[in-house]
């Protein structure tokens, strides 16, 4: 299968690599088919790339890289990612720990889950604040 993404250009992939998002992504509920791209320059980030809109790809990061003891109560098992929002300056970038993206590599299904508990932030700092400067 072939697909051209704005971010990654021509992509050759097998249908078995697709992930189905039955509910889409919040704000993009019409998008159902995605690839997860592991781009060498982007590691440890991954890209959730829409196969239906070449303009749409979402950078994600394993939340444990940002919060090592990240352990929310999740409805299903699978691999967890947090959508990353990189800002300018980049030090002010955030990750969404409240609405993780769950990926089931067996069923090839994914969904963005909204956690009931408010323990985790929608805009958690990607980078730890420098020592000596208190958080806001």
């Amino acid at each position: 299968m072939k697909f051209t993404s704005r971010q990654f250009g021509d992509i050759d992939y097998q249908e078995t690599h697709e992930f189905q998002f039955p509910d889409g992504i919040i704000g993009f509920e019409h998008l159902r088919k995605f690839l997860i791209i592991d781009d060498e320059d982007s590691q440890p980030f991954r890209w959730l790339v829409s196969l239906e809109d070449p303009n749409l790809s979402f950078p994600m990061i394993p939340p444990s890289i940002v919060v090592p003891d990240y352990a929310p109560v999740l409805p299903t098992g699978g691999t967890v990612f947090a959508v990353a929002v990189l800002n300018e300056p980049i030090e002010q970038s955030t990750v969404n720990l409240r609405a993780p993206v769950m990926i089931d590599t067996v069923t090839r299904e994914g969904r963005q889950v909204v956690l009931e508990q408010d323990r985790y932030s929608l805009q958690h700092p990607l980078f730890a604040p420098p020592a000596g400067v208190g958080g806001a």
Binding site: P59, V85, I90
Partner: protein, 88 residues
């Protein structure tokens, strides 16, 4: 917008499968019980909007920004220059 007044314990029904019951009202807070089919996603409005905004912003991010962030992460912790913002 349809505006209805309900008392504690009273319900409204939406369509055939959704009911919203007023469980409790106190100090400016309303506790609602919602029964709806599982496939219907229910979110707190402001949280849904914020997630939507975050996702929207995420789609604007370039590969080069991600590479830059990746570089900062791999350089162990972010080392900010001394005397950075936030002092004084």
């Amino acid at each position: 917008m349809l505006i209805l007044t309900r008392k504690t314990g009273e319900e409204i029904t939406i369509g055939e499968n959704v009911t919203v019951r007023v469980i409790a009202v106190q100090e400016g807070q309303v506790k609602l019980g919602i029964e709806a089919p599982k496939e219907l996603k229910i979110y707190r409005g402001e949280i849904y909007e914020l997630i939507q905004q975050q996702n929207m912003k995420a789609t604007q991010i370039s590969k080069s920004s991600v590479a830059k962030a990746a570089g900062l992460l791999s350089g162990s912790n972010l080392r900010s220059k001394k005397g950075g913002p936030g002092t004084g």
